[in-house]
Structures are given as structure tokens and as C-alpha cells.
């Protein structure tokens, strides 16, 4: 087999450009994962609870606890990992004052309930098909999780979810619980 060096050169130069581009994109992303020193008050909201609870989920009622508020949807692939992973953290840390609450942005409530049948969790699930609450939280990806301190301030944002993310998230939550 004889590789044609001259024309292959074109291809590999092209690859090099792409790799360089990718590397620069990746590098610029990792810059933002730094220390949390700020406090942005979480928007207030009231939403109906559709699973693992009754009545309404209101931001006001959550103040005083460390809260992980997660926006998800049944059509979101990584949510199949994030919801069960959050449940594990919730089960471990709820006695130390952690509240996990999730808001589904599904257009149809049944779609969310079907999803929960397949991936059951124990924390309350609220429903907002209007888009008002995710809009107020400026959600820019599924899932989007907001870590809120005891004073009601958003302190960290977690967009997307991949295997292993729960480790860093758990550390972050524990640090906040110990404040």
C-alpha cells in the first residue's frame, strides 16, 4: 500500500487547523470554571408540583436551605444521567439540609411523568411549560442546575451533564452546606 504523500499533506494540514481550533475552543471554556465568590439573588417563582410532593414549589419556601434547582426535560439526553445522579446526592445529603428540586420544561406533563417512571427520583418535580421560570433563570442548556445558598443567592451554575460531573458537584454542595 502506498500512501500519496503530497495529497495526504493537504488533509493533515486541514486536520491540524481543526485540532488547533478545537483546542483553543476547549481552552477558553475551561477558564470559566473557577472559584465562586459572588451572590446573585435567585428569581422568585411559584410552580405546581407534579411528582414527589403536593401543592406548589416556591422559591420563598426554600430560603434557609442549600438548594440545588435543576431544569430538565424528558427529551434531554444527558438528563437521563443527571436526574438519577442528583437523587444519589440528595439521598446522601438531605439530612444535612440539602434540598433538591427540579423543574421540567416539557410542553406536555405526561411526557415528564413517563420519563420519571423510567428514571424515578425522590425529590419534588415542578412543571412549567410556559417558559417563564427558565427564562427568569436564563437557562441556556438542558439540564441547567443552580446551586443556591441559604440566603437565596445563586452561587453556581451547572449546564449540561456528563458522567463524573456528580463528583465535583457533590464537593461543591458539601462546601456550601458547611458554610
Amino acid at each position: 500500500m502506498s500512501l500519496q504523500v503530497s495529497s495526504l499533506g493537504h488533509v493533515f494540514r486541514w486536520c491540524a487547523v481543526l485540532i488547533a481550533l478545537n483546542t483553543s475552543l476547549t481552552a477558553s471554556d475551561s477558564v470559566s470554571a473557577e472559584t465562586a465568590t459572588i451572590k446573585v439573588p435567585a428569581p422568585d417563582f411559584v410552580l405546581p408540583v407534579i411528582a414527589n410532593g403536593k401543592g406548589a414549589l416556591a422559591m420563598d419556601d426554600l430560603e434557609g436551605s442549600v438548594v440545588y434547582l435543576d431544569f430538565w426535560a424528558s427529551w434531554c439526553g444527558p438528563c437521563r444521567l443527571s436526574l438519577p445522579a442528583l437523587d444519589t446526592i440528595y439521598q446522601e445529603l438531605k439530612d444535612q439540609g440539602l434540598i433538591v428540586a427540579a423543574i421540567t420544561v416539557d410542553a406536555v406533563e405526561e411526557d415528564a411523568l413517563d420519563f420519571l417512571q423510567r428514571y424515578p427520583v425522590s425529590y419534588p418535580i415542578a412543571f412549567d411549560s410556559s417558559g417563564d421560570v427558565p427564562s427568569a433563570f436564563a437557562v441556556n442548556g438542558m439540564p441547567s442546575g443552580y446551586l443556591i445558598d441559604r440566603s437565596g443567592n445563586v452561587r453556581a451554575l451547572h449546564v449540561g451533564f456528563k458522567r463524573g460531573d456528580e463528583v465535583a458537584l457533590r464537593d461543591e454542595i458539601i462546601a456550601m452546606l458547611e458554610e
Binding site: Q4, S7, C15, D29, S32, A33, A36, I38, D132, S144
Partner: protein, 402 residues
């Protein structure tokens, strides 16, 4: 009562511009205060997240080419190819940011193909088929690794294909990355294939021992979310082949040793909420330096039925003939061919595909008919007698697990 609880957002809202552009050096963020800018984000949204689960699949397809019409046969067996294709694959996430896919495909072919075009007793063009039935088996093995980061992914693939008379080794690299608002995705790929032809000397005489062919290809494309129910894409590809491009199993076939091709492809998807289905439309324009242009239009309707789906589809294809094609090869010129694949014709495919989900299993079935004819062509030209029609059926199962 749930309805009694009004959706309410009071107090204030988070600034989306701030949250979307978290890099601390952004002037927009700087103007809004360093405090908000240092809000940590572990990662941005994945447009292409690594697969959440491991997937294993097996697919079997059979296609049968129609026997050659009696009027178009001068000599030989009318029966053409029967092909069985088995595809087996496993695709799994590795760690948090990688995936690996392993693909194996086996093609088993038997039958005969046109050897050359001559004339029958009435002086009409007709096909002389290769004598005895040809048996061939092709095994293709491919490995793809893919890395995912916050704004995109990049993959590297190696594929090796081996059959009695043909061997190919191909490498490809591709990448896709999203705009900040995740509504635009750029993609690019580059690939190279190194092929070797060594015709089997059994049924029909061949005039070469072994020849080489190198192919390089580039692709660049962009897709754009238009609305919450529609998305469009445009792509451009360039391919150049250098080496032996002649068909060694044809009596009168002599092609240039270089072949440059470009394509412009576009696609559109529109979801209809009431109907619960999606309209899929794709168009491709193709142009090469052998004088062939082609148009391909594909339209499908994918109907969701709960977690199942049913997809009827149509495809129309039309090409113009290559410069050196003639119905009966003119061997007095530098390049010549009577291969129906280089003639002017049109083809229509009609098919139906269904998928059924049973727990973690997906079962698929598909049936399609391909009909080609010179009269379907947009380009006119002379009718080649060897055009092919076929039926194709596919069944498959895919299992996804943790």
C-alpha cells in the same frame, strides 16, 4: 388543584447575556460587574453530548437486483446480483467526555454483471453478461473514537475493508462546534482512503494484476435552528481520486486516472406539532470533471407513534452522462465506457421504514424499491441497456443499556 397555582415570576430575573457569556474577559460581562462574571459554570450545554448509554445493534439487509429484461440481453445469464449485508456495532461512552464505536459489516454478493454492450440481431444495443456467477465477500471493520467538549465534538475513524479483489484503508477526522447560543453548528471533516484493486481472474478476462487508488475528501457544513420546529443545513464537499478508476471487469472500459467531485447539499426539517410528525427534505447537487452532473431530492415524513415511528420516503435522482460514455463503447478514443452507471438516467426510490420500541430494545424494519430509467432523466442522453432496478429489505435490533 395544580391549575390553581399560578405560574409566577416575581422579584427579578437573571441576566441571560451574563450567564451565556461567562468567560471573565468578555467586555459585556465586565460592564455588568465582576461579581456576576465569576459565577462558576462547570460546563456549557452539550449540543452533542456523549451517548448516555451503551448501544449494541445488529442489522440485516438483503437486496435483489431485477433480472435483465430479455430484450436487452444479447448473451449470458439474465440474473443479476443478490446481496446480503450484515451490520454489527457497539457504541459506548468512555469516561465523561469520550465515546468509542466499533462497526463490523459483511457484504455477501453473488450473481452476474454486465460485461459489455454490443448489438443484438436486430442491431439494437444489448448487454453481454459476465459468464458464470461471481461470488464475493466483503468485510469492513471500523473504529471511531469521539471526544466531546462543552461546545462540540471531534471524531477520528479508521476503517478497513477487505474483499477478494479489493482492499481499502480509510482514515477520517471530523469536528462539529456550536455557536454560543447553541443555534448554529459548524462541521468539517477530512478523510483519506488508500485502495488497492487486484481483480479475480476467473469468469471473465481481466488485463491488470494490481492497481492503486487514492482518494481525499473534505467537507464543510453549517446547520441553523430556525424556529422551535425547524432546522436547516447546507454543506459542501470536495473529493479527489487519483489512480486506477477503470472497472477491470468490463471489456471496454478506460477511464481517466483522476476524478474530482464537488457536491452542494442542503437539508430541511420541519416538525408538525398537531400531526406529531416531521417533514424531512434533502437536496444534493453533484458535479464532476468527467462531465457528470446530478440532482438528488429526498422527501420523507417521519410519523411518531408514541415511542414508535413510521416513515414513508421518496427519493428522486437524475444524472447526466460522462463525457466518455457511449451506449456501445468507442474504443478509438483515449477514454471510453459503456457502464450504465456513467449514462444519463433517472431513478426513483420509494420506501417505508418502521421502528418499534420494546423496553430498551428498538426493532426496525424497512422495505424499498429502486427503479431507474433513461426516460426519468432530466438530461436526456442515450439509454444504456444495463440499468439496474432492485428491491431492498432490512430488519434490525438495537439494545441500549447502562
Amino acid at each position: 388543584m395544580r391549575q390553581a397555582v399560578a405560574v409566577a415570576v416575581t422579584k427579578h430575573r437573571l441576566d441571560s447575556a451574563v450567564l451565556q457569556k461567562l468567560p471573565t474577559d468578555s467586555p459585556v460581562v465586565a460592564s455588568l460587574g465582576a461579581a456576576i462574571a465569576s459565577l462558576p459554570t462547570y460546563q456549557k450545554a452539550f449540543a452533542d453530548a456523549p451517548p448516555a448509554f451503551t448501544e449494541v445493534g445488529l442489522r440485516y439487509s438483503h437486496y435483489t437486483e431485477d433480472s435483465l429484461d430479455k430484450d436487452l440481453l444479447v448473451f449470458g445469464d439474465r440474473d443479476r446480483y443478490d446481496i446480503d449485508v450484515t451490520q454489527l456495532w457497539i457504541e459506548a461512552p468512555v469516561g465523561g467526555a469520550w465515546s468509542v464505536a466499533f462497526d463490523v459489516q459483511n457484504d455477501s454478493m453473488s450473481g452476474a454483471s454486465p460485461w459489455f454492450v454490443g448489438t443484438n440481431l436486430d442491431g439494437e444495443p444489448g448487454v453481454i453478461m459476465s459468464g458464470a456467477s461471481i461470488q464475493d465477500n466483503r468485510v469492513e471493520v471500523g473504529v471511531t473514537t469521539r471526544y466531546f467538549w462543552a461546545d462540540g465534538n471531534a471524531g477520528f475513524n479508521v476503517t478497513h475493508s477487505d474483499e477478494d479483489d479489493y482492499e481499502a484503508l480509510a482514515f477520517s477526522f471530523d469536528a462539529a462546534w456550536n455557536s454560543d447560543d447553541n443555534s448554529r453548528t459548524w462541521s468539517a471533516s477530512a478523510s483519506t482512503s488508500d485502495d488497492s484493486v487486484a481483480p479475480v481472474k476467473e469468469a471473465i478476462p481481466v488485463f491488470i494484476d494490481q492497481e492503486e487508488l487514492d482518494t481525499q475528501s473534505l467537507y464543510f457544513g453549517v446547520s441553523q435552528v430556525l424556529t422551535s420546529t425547524s432546522i436547516v443545513r447546507v454543506g459542501l464537499s470536495y473529493t479527489i481520486s487519483d489512480g486506477y478508476l477503470t472497472d477491470p471487469y468490463k471489456l471496454a472500459d478506460q477511464r481517466p486516472s483522476e476524478h474530482e467531485r464537488v457536491t452542494l447539499n442542503t437539508g430541511y426539517r420541519q416538525y408538525f406539532v398537531e400531526a406529531g410528525g416531521a417533514l424531512k427534505m434533502d437536496y444534493r447537487f453533484y458535479n464532476d470533471d468527467w462531465g457528470t452532473d446530478s440532482h438528488t431530492l429526498e422527501v420523507a415524513w417521519q410519523q411518531s407513534l408514541g415511542r414508535h415511528s413510521l416513515t414513508p420516503y421518496l427519493r428522486y435522482y437524475s444524472q447526466s452522462q460522462a463525457d466518455f460514455f457511449s451506449v456501445i463503447a468507442d474504443t478509438s478514443t483515449d477514454f471510453y465506457a459503456d457502464d450504465y452507471r456513467l449514462s444519463s438516467y433517472g431513478a426513483i426510490t420509494a420506501g417505508l421504514r418502521g421502528t418499534v420500541m420494546i423496553g430498551d430494545w428498538e426493532v426496525e424494519g424497512q422495505l424499498e424499491r429502486y427503479d431507474s430509467d433513461n426516460s426519468f432523466s432530466l438530461y436526456g442522453g442515450d439509454a444504456a441497456p444495463g440499468l439496474v432496478d432492485f428491491w431492498r429489505a432490512t430488519v434490525g435490533v438495537t439494545l441500549r443499556f447502562d
